[in-house]
Symmetry: C2
Subunit: 339 residues, 2 copies
DNA sequence: CTGTTAGCGCCTTCAC
DNA sequence: GTGAAGGCGCTAACAG
C-alpha cells in the first residue's frame, strides 16, 4: 500500500512541495494555470493529501464523535443516518460509539473521542447521567458539543429536543378522552429532561380534565423492552393493573404488552396502551401500537447543523435549543372498542 | 484545548523526549525506575501521547472500518457490538459506515476508509455486489479485509459465515414435516452466497422428501420489510399464495405477514411462515414468528479476531473461513394447528 | 540504558 | 506567484 506523497508530485512537476500544497488549499495565492496543472497531474498520479498528516498540522481532525446509549432499537440508528447525511457531505468522518446506557462506558467514549481529537461531539445521554459535570467541563473548555433527545437542563449547550411535554400531554389526553381515567405512566429515568417533560405532560393532562394523579401513577423504569416487561410483572403481583398505560417509549410499551398478554389481559379492551417515538415494528405487533411520531432523522440533521455552526465559527457561540414537533399515530392498542 | 506534549514532559523531567517516548512504548529498553517516574509525572501533567502524531510515524492508524448495508434492523448493530467488544480492547477505533444497500455508496465507504488509512476493513456486502473486483484489488494489495454474513464465493479472503445451507434446509423441513408441501421461498439477491445457500437448502429439503420444486417456488426479493410486503402483494394478484413461506430473513417475513393479514389470510392456519436470523421483535408480532437463531454477536467477535490475526502478522496470511451454527426457534407462525 | 538525529506528510510563515 | 525552511508530536535507528 505505497502511497504517492506531495513530494512525488512536486518532483514529477519539478516544482516545490509548497506549491503543490497551495494547489490543494484554495486559500493561498497561486497561478490558476499552475494550479490546474498540479491538480491534473496529481489526480493522474493518484495523489491524495494524507489526511493524517494534514490533521497533525492543522490541529483539526474532521472527525466528529457520536455517542448514543444503544443502537439496537432503530431510533438512534435513524438519527445517526441524519447526522451522517449532513456531516459526510461537509467532509467530516463520523465516529459512532455506544455507551450501552452505562455511565462509565459513556465517559470512556467521550474521553476516547476527546483524546483522539474529535473536532466535536454529538451525544444523547445515557440513562444515569452521571457525566454531566465532565461534559460541562468539556463545554467550558470550548469543546463543541451538541446534545440530542436525551438531555439535562443544567447543561448549557446547543440541544435538539422533541416537544416531549406537549406530545405526552396529547398522548395521555387521547386515553382520557376515551373514558379511561385510571392511567399509569411507565416513565424513563428521572435524571433526563425527556423523562421529566413526559411526566409533566402526563400529569397536566390529568389536571386539564380534573382527574386525580399522584406519584403512584408514575413508575420509573427504563427504555428497553425488558424494563416494560418487568414493570408490568411487578404491577400484576400487586394487582394494580390500571385501564391504561402511557409508556415512555415503544420498546417499553412492547414489553408491557408482552407481559400483559402473557397474563391474559386483553389489549385494548382490558388495558389500553400508547407508546412514544414510533418504532417501525410498532405497527406489526399485536395489537398494533399507538404512538407519538417523532421526526427522528431530522433530529440528526439538525444536531449536525448545530455542530457545524460551532465548528465553523472559531469564536464562542451562544447555545441554542431547537425543539422539534411530531404527531400522534393512533392504532388499535389504545382504542377502547366498547366506548 | 491546549494539550501537553511529549516535549513538555521531557522538559519537566529534564530528560530527552525519546526517553519519554520509550516509557510509553514497552518494546524498548528503559530503566524501570525512570519509566515509572515518567509515567507518573506524565499522568500528573495530564499527558497523553497524541494518537494522530503516532499514526503519522507508525504508518498505522489503529482504525478499522466496518461497512454494513444498513443498521435499521438490529442484526448489523448487534454484529457491530461484537466487533467493537474485541477491537476496542485492543486499542482500535471502529469506524462504522453504512452502504445503504447501494454499491456506489459502498464503494465510497471503502475508498474513504482506505484513503483515511484504516488498518483493515470488516464488511458485509450490499445486495448488488458490484464491488467484488474493487474489493479483490484491495485484497491483492495486501489490505486486510474480513467478510461476514454477506459474502461472495469468488472473493479470496477470510470470512465469517453462517451455515445457511443447513439451517435453510432445517427450516424448510420443519414446514414439510407438518404436511405443508406447497412452499414458496422469498429469497435474497442471488449475487450473495448467503442467498444461494439458503436456496440450496430450501431445494434440498424438497429433494429429501421427494417433493417437486422448481424456480417458480423461489422468488428473488430483498432483505427489508417492504420487500416481503411487495412480494406478497404480487403473489396475491396472481392468486398464487401457497401453504407456507420460508423467508430469507425476519424483516421479509414480517412484511409478508403484514401483507397476508391485510388480505385476510390467517397465519398459520391458512399460511405458515418461518423466517431467518431471529430478530428481537419477531417474538412480539402476531403471530410470533418462527425463525432461525443466528449467533449474531459472536459473528462480530469472530470477524474481529480474524482481522486482528491479519493485522498482527505483517506477512501474508492464508484466508480462513469460519462457519457458525445456530438453532431453530419455533413459534406460532409456522405451526399448523390442524395437523 | 539514554540522548541525538532524522524523518512521517503536510501546512505555513518568510523571503524573494 | 513561488521556493526554502521550520514545525505539528511522535517514533526509530544510531551512537555512546
Amino acid at each position: 500500500m505505497k502511497h504517492v506523497t506531495i513530494k512525488d508530485v512536486a518532483r514529477a512537476l519539478n516544482c516545490s512541495i509548497s506549491t503543490v500544497s497551495r494547489a490543494f488549499n484554495d486559500k493561498y495565492d497561486i497561478h490558476p494555470d499552475t494550479r490546474e496543472r498540479i491538480l491534473k497531474a496529481a489526480s493522474e498520479m493518484g495523489y491524495q493529501p494524507n489526511p493524517i498528516a494534514r490533521k497533525l498540522t492543522q490541529q483539526r481532525t474532521y472527525n466528529v464523535g457520536v455517542v448514543v446509549p444503544e443502537f439496537l432499537n432503530p431510533f438512534f440508528p435513524e438519527v445517526i443516518m441524519g447526522i451522517q447525511d449532513v456531516l459526510l457531505k461537509k467532509g467530516y468522518q463520523v465516529l459512532i460509539m455506544q455507551s450501552n446506557e452505562n455511565d462509565d462506558t459513556e465517559r470512556e467514549n467521550l474521553k476516547t473521542l476527546v483524546e483522539n481529537f474529535a473536532d466535536g461531539i454529538i451525544i444523547s445521554l445515557s440513562q444515569e447521567s452521571k457525566n454531566i459535570d465532565y461534559i460541562q467541563s468539556l463545554i467550558d473548555k470550548g469543546f463543541p458539543i451538541v446534545l440530542f433527545n436525551r438531555s439535562n437542563e443544567s447543561l448549557n449547550v446547543s440541544k435538539v429536543l422533541f416537544d416531549d411535554y406537549k406530545w405526552a400531554l396529547f398522548a395521555t389526553e387521547h386515553l382520557i378522552q376515551q373514558g379511561i381515567t385510571n392511567i399509569i405512566h411507565l416513565a424513563g429515568k428521572n435524571h433526563l429532561t425527556l423523562s421529566k417533560k413526559r411526566i409533566q405532560g402526563f400529569v397536566d393532562a390529568h389536571r386539564k380534565y380534573k382527574l386525580p394523579v399522584d406519584n403512584s401513577k408514575i413508575i420509573e423504569t427504563g427504555f428497553l423492552v425488558k424494563n416494560g416487561f418487568e414493570a408490568i410483572e411487578k404491577l400484576i403481583i400487586k394487582k394494580q393493573i390500571p385501564q391504561g398505560f402511557f409508556c415512555v417509549n415503544d420498546p417499553t410499551a412492547m414489553g408491557a404488552i408482552k407481559a400483559l398478554k402473557k397474563h391474559g389481559f386483553r389489549i385494548p379492551s382490558d388495558v389500553a396502551i400508547i407508546g412514544f417515538t414510533q418504532t417501525p415494528t410498532s405497527s406489526m405487533i399485536s395489537p398494533p401500537l399507538s404512538s407519538v411520531i417523532q421526526p427522528t432523522r431530522q433530529m440528526g440533521e439538525v444536531a449536525a447543523e448545530l455542530l457545524l455552526k460551532q465548528l465553523d465559527s472559531s469564536g464562542l457561540i451562544v447555545p441554542e435549543t431547537v425543539v422539534l414537533s411530531g404527531s400522534l399515530k393512533i392504532r388499535e392498542s389504545s382504542v377502547k372498542l366498547s366506548s
